[in-house]
Subunit: 187 residues, 2 copies
DNA sequence: TCTATAACTAAGCGTTTGCTTAGATTTAAC
DNA sequence: GTTAAATCTAAGCAAACGCTTAGTTATAGA
């Protein structure tokens, strides 16, 4: 009855996500997206409604890709050691060749103004809170741990993880691994 | 011989800096600057050449303002305790009423792409390196400390400080203070 | 083969961006 | 008071932004 799409939506979102990851949300223009995704602006808007839609789909994909390491964390029952492994896994996950791109979500949180784009901001907060809950769950596995301190430790770890997302653009790999080592010294 | 300026350059830069601090570099437009600074675009360009010039002057001012707490750190001789105080001082410094604005420099590092604006990026890196050196200097004051670990500890502290700049937009004051407490537990 | 419909290309919409410029206004030396 | 120079206002520049739309092309059912 009608013409077939000449592109696969999953494939072009993969490319869009990598561009957002490197560039951030605002400074990725629709012109850049159409070049990277290899499809016309019309097709972008037909498939994903608008730029925001492309980004929300990118976060979804990011979520499923990072699932491979959050699942490892979720299935671990070795307490804080599991979280430490998550930090190392994340470093590996955020690497593209020699450079580190940080976390797509953290990068964007830093860029977006809350009131200028509440939909994206809400999606990003949901993502962060989810990871923090995994930290709490794993910390509770260590039975010699002071339960009153667990919430504070989870916040401390989130702070370190957020920091790592910036640090990974400044420091080299050896330094980043040393930062992780030091972060877990007293936990 | 000629007309007098109807504004004080130091005063309008103060206002520009606060706007950049809240908003970031890219998402602060020249139209917003002229409203906040209370002067016309022509005057902005006459006094500071361009938007980049306004920002570079803003960083200079930020530097002299934050000097009040970096000086305290520089004059301290109580080792890691002095750094801890710096963290608390920074939190206070970055507060505007009930909300925390993070660090102007860190906020902008997150936003700017290295190759898109190398001049600003260079100014920002200089700023960060300077603070890290103060950390190293203070860590060396503790004579029971392992000298081989000092560089790693300085990086760890920078990571925590960078994290704090993001965290301060997400967490409340009590949580932030708890994060600082936990950061220094094993140092 | 004809036709209806979805997918394509490419031009262009209105708005905002950083920045400039023409022209009026103020000021201080003469 | 005249004049020259700096400062002001306000309009407008080209480029880039997110997004739309007119017109062409391909495809599957009749």
């Amino acid at each position: 009855m009608a013409r077939k799409k000449q592109y696969n939506e999953a494939e072009v979102i993969e490319k869009a996500m990598r561009l957002f990851w490197r560039n951030g949300y605002e400074s990725t223009s629709v012109r850049m997206l159409e070049k990277e995704m290899g499809i016309n602006q019309f097709s972008i808007y037909a498939s994903f409604k608008n730029k925001e839609g492309v980004f929300l789909e990118s976060i979804k994909l990011y979520n499923t890709q990072i699932k491979s390491i959050t699942n490892t964390l979720e299935n671990s029952n070795n307490g804080v050691e599991g979280i430490k492994n998550y930090f190392y896994d994340f470093l590996d996950f955020s690497r593209e060749g020699a450079i580190f791109k940080g976390c797509l979500v953290t990068n964007t949180v830093n860029e977006i103004k809350e009131d200028s784009n509440p939909i994206i901001m809400a999606a990003l907060k949901r993502f962060s809170l989810n990871i923090r809950e995994l930290f709490v769950r794993n910390l509770k596995q260590d039975d010699e741990r002071d339960v009153k301190e667990i919430e504070a430790q989870a916040d401390y770890l989130m702070n370190a993880l957020l920091g790592l997302s910036i640090s990974s653009k400044v420091f080299n790999e050896a330094t980043l691994k040393d930062i992780i080592r030091m972060t877990f010294l007293h936990l």
